[in-house]
Each structure stands twice: as C-alpha cells, then as structure tokens.
Symmetry: C2
C-alpha cells in the first residue's frame, strides 16, 4: 500500500494533500454532525468559502447529506471515512511524528520519510530525495552550498536534479577528505551534486593529518584559501550524521583511535566532529574547512540521516549546535521518540 502513496506523492503531491483535506472535513462532520457551515469553519480553521466548496463537492459525490438542520455523513461517506483511515494515518503519521520530533529535539523543521533507510534501499532513496528537494527549495541564486561526506550524502547527491537556480550555485565540501572511500568523500560529493544539479563546484585538497607547519603553508595558497573563504561564507550546509558503530567499521584509523572514541563514549560524527551522547565534542578531525564556530553564520543547516541505529547520534547532535532542519526516516524518528536521550 505504501508504494501507491509514495508514488503518488512524487507524481501528484497535491492529490494527497487534497485527499487529506477532504478526509479531515469528512471526519469533522462525522464527529459534529449535524453541523453547520460556520461551526465547521471555525473548527477546521478554514475560510468559509473554501469549506463551502469542499462541502459542495462532497455532496456532489454523495458523501455528505446537507439539510436544513446541518450536514451529516451519508452511509457512503461513513464507509469512505472508515476505509480511508488507515491510509490517511499512514500518510500523516509522519507529519504527527515530525511535530513530536520538532518539540523533542527543539528543531525548526523536520521531514520524515517512510521506512527504514538502513535496511531498505527504497527508503534510503526516499530520504535522499527529500534531502535533495529541500536543498532545491532553499537555495537561491549565487549562494554557496557546503556539503559533508558519507554514504547518505552520496545518495542525496545522486538524487539532485537540475533547476535554473542551480546554474548559479556553487557546491563546496564542508571539510577536506576524512579518509573515507573516494565516493564518500565530501569533495567527490560536492562534484556529483554540481554535476547532477547543473551547478558549479570547488574542491578542497588538504590532506588529513599533516603537520601544523604544512597546514599553515597550504592554507596560504590562493587556490585553497579561496575555497576556504567560500566555505566559511556558505549559505547552506548539508551534512549527515554517522553513528559510532558504523564509524568504527569504516574509518581507516588505527586501534588507538577507536579506543579513544570508545573511552570518551562517542556516539556520532558529523563533518569531522565526534561527539558523545551529551553533545560534547570528544574529538575533531584535523583537516581544513568549516569549523563549529562558523556554523552560526550559515543560513540553513540541513541534516540528513536515517535508520534506527543513528537515533542516538541524531538526538545527540542537537546538543552540539542548534539544528534547524532534519530530514530523517520513520525508523529513526520512532526510535528517538521511544527513548529518553538526554537533552
């Protein structure tokens, strides 16, 4: 069933919102029947005229009965109401979830996609698609978008599609390479995003783990300092959140490093910063790029992360710095809400 709803949300998103609106009207009539137009409008917070058009339509379809005493559901209307309920709940369970998450994590905006992106490839694509759409809706001309690395970010990059605005958008890596596989490196992802969206990109080639002297020298190169400046002026930051266990398996760092993370109880990582469940930074990768203190200047910070195993890390990063937008999946959302992570 989910499939149809998901497909429709791509092919005709209005369909679902209209369906939802009419369903809401139906349900409200059912609860209050017989009810007049005026009380319905105030109850539904619609303008009277709009409500009236909807009601006229519903009557035309034979779903509501409209008489002197007020409106009532017909037998058919009741049937539709009842049979539609599970679908609607599925459709808007997420918006309810997202409301709860917003409050719980103190985030301005939360998008939730169905499923578990950790185990379901389709769900991961949905997550990425949502992220890509969000970027598209937020970017304006001549802005810089800083992107982090990781497999989720890669999926986002592949979901980008061209729009005229992107022609004047520059994608930059939030930080230099962090020792991942090439296709997960921020540099690569910035380039893919630009490729798929029709935008420009700049790379930041600063090796990890170099001496302080070498670093200072490098950052004086105009090629590099230019990009560094762009990064610090980024209007949008898009990043994902790694969880401790996956990090442990993937990073090429040595055993001591893993022990350090374990000792300090790191639960997650984002663009090179490792944090514990209280949101305390326990380690930072030594590489050039966006620093924590640059974040307040970034206009929009979009976190894209899903899967139940990342729940703790997602919850924790909200304490690291104030989030404004989170794109996640149902699995992570429910896990976060079901557990009492510290604020």
């Amino acid at each position: 069933m989910r499939t149809l709803l998901t497909l429709q949300s791509q092919l005709c998103p209005d369909l679902l919102s209209v369906m939802h609106k009419r369903y809401t009207v139906l349900r409200r009539i059912y609860y209050l029947q017989p009810v007049g137009r005026r009380s319905l409008t105030s109850s539904l917070q619609m303008t009277e005229r709009i409500l009236r058009s909807e009601v006229d339509f519903l009557r035309e379809q034979g779903l509501v009965n409209i008489a002197q005493a007020g409106m009532t559901l017909t037998e058919q209307g009741l049937e539709v109401l009842q049979k539609l309920q599970p679908f609607i709940e599925e459709y808007l369970g997420y918006s309810q979830l997202s409301e709860e998450l917003k409050e719980r994590l103190n985030i301005q905006e939360v998008w939730i996609v169905p499923g578990d992106s950790e185990h379901d490839e389709w769900a991961k694509k949905e997550l990425a698609r949502a992220g890509a759409q969000l970027i598209k809706s937020w970017v304006q001309e001549d802005q810089v978008v800083a992107v982090a690395g990781g497999s989720t970010m890669q999926a986002v990059a592949e979901s980008m599609s061209p729009t005229p605005i992107f022609k004047r958008t520059t994608f930059v890596p939030a930080r230099g390479g962090v020792g991942d596989a090439v296709e997960h490196e921020a540099n690569y992802i910035a380039s893919r995003m630009a490729k798929n969206s029709g935008g420009r990109y700049r790379m930041l080639h600063v090796p990890d783990q170099i001496s302080e002297e070498a670093y200072q020298l490098l950052t004086q190169e105009t090629q590099i300092s230019d990009v560094l400046h762009m990064i610090q002026e980024a209007s949008v930051l898009v990043y994902s959140i790694g969880d401790a266990k996956t990090m442990a398996g993937r990073r090429k760092y040595g055993r001591e490093f893993m022990q350090l993370l374990e000792e300090k109880q790191a639960v997650g990582e984002s663009f090179g910063y490792y944090f514990d469940r209280n949101g305390t930074i326990v380690h930072r990768t030594k590489t050039a790029g966006l620093r924590l203190r640059d974040l307040p200047k970034v206009g929009r910070k979009i976190a894209v992360a899903g899967g139940a195993s990342k729940a703790e890390a997602i919850a924790a990063i909200c304490s690291v710095f104030p989030q404004d937008t989170l794109v996640t999946d149902e699995a992570a959302a429910r896990k976060i809400l079901s557990q009492n992570y510290p604020l």
Copy 2:
C-alpha cells in the same frame, strides 16, 4: 490496493485523472526519449502549453531530465513509471474494457466498476453508486424517470443522493408489481429513489394476472391512467437485468411457468420481458406500464447489471432493443468479452 484507488476515485476523482495524465506523459517520454516538446504534443494529442506545464512539473519533481537534445527520464522517473504501472493498469483497465464492450455490444456508453457484484457487497455498492451518479448526471428539470424492480435497482435507489434538480423530478415504476418481494418491487424502488434524492414519485397499483376486462376498467381510472401517461413520457429509464437462474429461484410463479421459460431457453428478464440468448422475447408479464414499443421515445435508457452469471443476459438484451448506456462490473464485462454470445 484496489481499496485506495476506489476511495480516491470517490474523494478526489479529478486528481486520479491528473495522475493518469502524468503517467501517460512519463511513459511516452520513456518510449521516445530523447524527445522534443513538439513531437510529444502530437504524439499525446495534447496542446503544447498543457504538455509544457506537465513537463515542467515532472522536471521539478526530478522525474524527467530536460536538456538541449530533448527530454529523458531520470532514474527516479523510470522507477516511478515501473512501480506505478500495475496501479494505472488497474485504474484504467476498466476504461479499456469499456471500449471493447462498447464495440462488442454496440452500446454508446459503458461504465465498469471493479470487482464482482455477485459475490462482493462492496462491488455491488460501487455498481449502484455508478448507476445513481449516472442518473444524476442525466436528469434535467421536470423530467420523469421510470425505474424497474430488482435487488440491483434497490441498491441504486439507496445510493441516490439529493441534488437540486431532483426536486423537480418524478420517479415512476416502469411497470406494475411483478410479484417479487416488496422491497424489490418497482413501486417501492421508485418511492425510495424519490425519498433519497429529494424528488417526487407516483405509484402504479395494477395487480398482475388480472382479467382483460378488469385491466381495461382499471386503466380508465384517472389515478392509474395519469401514471400510465407519465410512464410513457418518461425521459429516462433505469432498469436492471435478471438472469434465468436467479429468476427461477425467486419468482413465485408455478412450475409450468418455469418449464415454459426453460423450453423457450429464456436467459434473462428486464421489466417484465423474458428473452432468450438471441434476444427474442419469449414471454411478457401481463401488467401495465412501459411497453417495448414505447422504448424508442425514451431519451435515455440506463441498464445496471453486474456479476458473471448475468453476462449472457446482458449480452442478449442488446439484441432485444438498442441500448445506449450500460453500467456493469468487471466480472460481467470480462465474461461477456471472453465468450462468443450471438449478436
């Protein structure tokens, strides 16, 4: 799955057609890609402007890629196309079916609802709902609607909903009682239709099987002759089709009558006329009301009948007199098309 589509077809039918339209565009692009706007318009028989709006939307959703060389599907677009296919086929399989039926039976208009109304209560309601909607869309002010009897007609009556036009509509039975249960009698059904639609009704109380003398006397009563005149001036006739087997079980006629029907190979009945598979009338109930020779004067004749077992009867009645509208279900439609009933 069917449920969601069915519900949506009630709650937001126009949006489903939008979905269909976009799907068609997607599919055509897939076949012809890379394809230009002009060739698409001629191929899809849309105006250029409309096609353009749709394509813009699809690009916005990241489903099509739009480049100098023409339009192509994105990976996502292909995915949506493929996953949506079964749903679309389900949604419009019926319109294809109805095209075939129109040609096969030489009917102007055919409506098909999902399922088998013989075994599925929900399907029967759908059938009735479609019938009721059709009546609603055809009736104009101050017209007379003649209705026949039967359980299907009863369901149609219960699916009627009020509309201003019905206030000036009169429902009359097509013929007098035919010895069925009260709730299946044409008289009762006319009254229920009027009740549920907000219209007026007149009854025709002429007993079956009375002597010729008594009949002549009765039809001179103004009460009765008035109604008879109304019937003969009916603008819309709504009737169902009974199949031989059900008739055998339900009628209260004696064994001789059943033998007669069997002898003459009757396959169906409509408003008192029994016919064989060639469309020859083999018996007519002796009761007052609409006669076959009145039919050409009736503006619109709507037959509502479903269920596989009625397939033969439905096919046969098209030879009895020219049909213009048939409302049936998937089961009957497929059965009719799968068999070679005589023309």
